[in-house]
């Protein structure tokens, strides 16, 4: 077979989590940018996908990230009240709340899917957020749930 999903990750330190991060263009992405420019160090675990607003993040994106093999997901937008589009993050907050409750109910471990508000000025905070999320996902281990293609058709 072409690919070998031999996840004998018994040694946790060998495991480098892959985290997909949906960052809103105006606040969180800028915050991440600031962290970079300021040469702040944080683990290279996140794969950033820039979105215009946290309200653009469809719960599908989060599920598809897990299907594609992400070990964790981070969604970050402007602080409530500061949304560049005024209300996008408010609407998103309701959606994320319901999604989060449902995923946790289904057995997706708390800490796999994370939500945050990070502003454009919060470079250090962004770096710290990534450090914490990465550590948490590292503790949880590689994600198997929803992952497509590990066992094949499963039937």
């Amino acid at each position: 077979m072409y690919y070998n999903f031999d996840f004998t990750m018994s040694a946790v330190e060998g495991f480098q989590p892959k985290i997909v991060a949906f960052l809103c263009n105006w606040c969180s992405y800028a915050g991440a940018d600031l962290a970079g420019i300021s040469r702040m160090q944080y683990p290279p675990s996140i794969r950033v996908i820039r979105v215009p607003c946290s309200g653009r993040v469809d719960p599908f994106f989060i599920l598809q990230a897990l299907q594609a093999g992400a070990d964790g997901v981070l969604v970050s937008g402007c602080h409530p009240g500061d949304c560049h589009y005024l209300t996008g993050n408010y609407v998103a907050r309701r959606r994320f709340a319901v999604l989060n409750d449902l995923l946790e109910f289904c057995g997706v471990e708390p800490g796999r899917v994370n939500f945050a508000w990070v502003s454009a000025a919060e470079g250090e905070r962004f770096a710290q957020l990534v450090r914490e999320v990465t550590e948490r996902v590292r503790e949880l281990g590689p994600n198997r749930k929803l992952r497509k293609g590990v066992e094949g058709n499963g039937r």
Partner: protein, 283 residues
């Protein structure tokens, strides 16, 4: 229940004779005695054939979108959950209130294979919240706790065990979409599973895709699912679909104080927001 049905037939016939409505959406006897069929009665003399009993397992509001027109009025026999579905459709501007005449009627629950449907056991709205006239006396029902206890038992399992239980359930899904097709809240011209550019969900029965389908359908039901249970009764593979929907309805109730389909003048809960919404889950 029997007197109510007689009264319903009389009233339906009168409404048709007086031309208040062009037709009445109601239940007609099924052939095997198991499941009644939904029909549109247009002649007063045919109103005699209307039935309403435990074999009327569909949510009749599903058929409203098929028959409601831009003019005139269509009558519909609506029980508790069905009236709430009509409220959801009104909140979502699917038709004008004046286009339907609701014959509200109380409900004692429906049965599948002789057993009272789980959603009926759990039902908190046996009587319609909206109607043009109420047929017969209100249904009286105690609120049971059994289903809720089952969900609590599920929640008490470890996360991996919960996931395993759901996967096992969802692995039987053959993607017939009976759940979607019987649901009055599912009326998108192009459902997300049928979207192709981009494709959102895989079309095979891969466990991962089956899970995404059910999780996303439940999410699309947030604030819109009236917990009628038509979906789980329709499922030919016996999947516990309402388990997902109940959890989502619980979230919406606890976080936003909203219950689907009880207040026609309110906006759908996921279309609005409160600056003070709970955000304890956000880092």
């Amino acid at each position: 229940m029997e007197d109510r049905v007689e009264l319903l037939r009389t009233r339906a016939a009168a409404l048709l004779r007086e031309q208040v409505v062009t037709g009445i959406l109601g239940f007609l006897p099924g052939t095997r005695g198991g499941v009644a069929q939904v029909g549109l009665v247009t002649r007063a003399e045919d109103a005699e054939g209307l039935v309403l009993d435990a074999s009327c397992t569909q949510n009749i509001a599903k058929y409203l979108l098929k028959v409601v027109r831009a003019e005139g009025k269509v009558g519909v026999v609506a029980r508790g959950c069905e009236a709430r579905s009509i409220v959801v459709l009104l909140q979502e501007r699917q038709f004008e209130r004046a286009r339907v005449y609701i014959l509200g009627i109380g409900c004692e629950g429906v049965k599948k294979n002789g057993v009272l449907s789980a959603s009926c056991v759990n039902c908190a709205y046996p009587n319609p919240v909206i109607y043009d006239e109420l047929v017969g006396e209100a249904a009286v029902k105690e609120s049971p706790a059994e289903i809720i206890a089952e969900d609590e038992r599920f929640y008490a399992l470890a996360p991996d065990e919960r996931w395993r239980v759901l996967e096992e359930d969802v692995s039987r899904c053959i993607r017939c979409y009976a759940c979607r097709e019987v649901c009055p809240s599912c009326y998108c011209p192009v459902c997300f599973v049928d979207a192709t550019m981009p494709q959102l969900v895989g079309r095979t029965h891969h466990l991962s895709d089956n899970m995404v389908f059910h999780i996303m359908r439940a999410l699309h039901m947030a604030g819109r699912c009236v917990e009628c249970g038509a979906c789980e009764r329709a499922c030919p593979m016996g999947i516990d679909l309402m388990r997902f929907n109940r959890r989502v309805a619980k979230s919406v109730r606890e976080r936003f104080g909203a219950i689907a389909g009880v207040a026609p003048e309110e906006s759908p809960p996921l279309a609005v927001f409160d600056p003070a919404d709970m955000q304890e889950f956000i880092r």
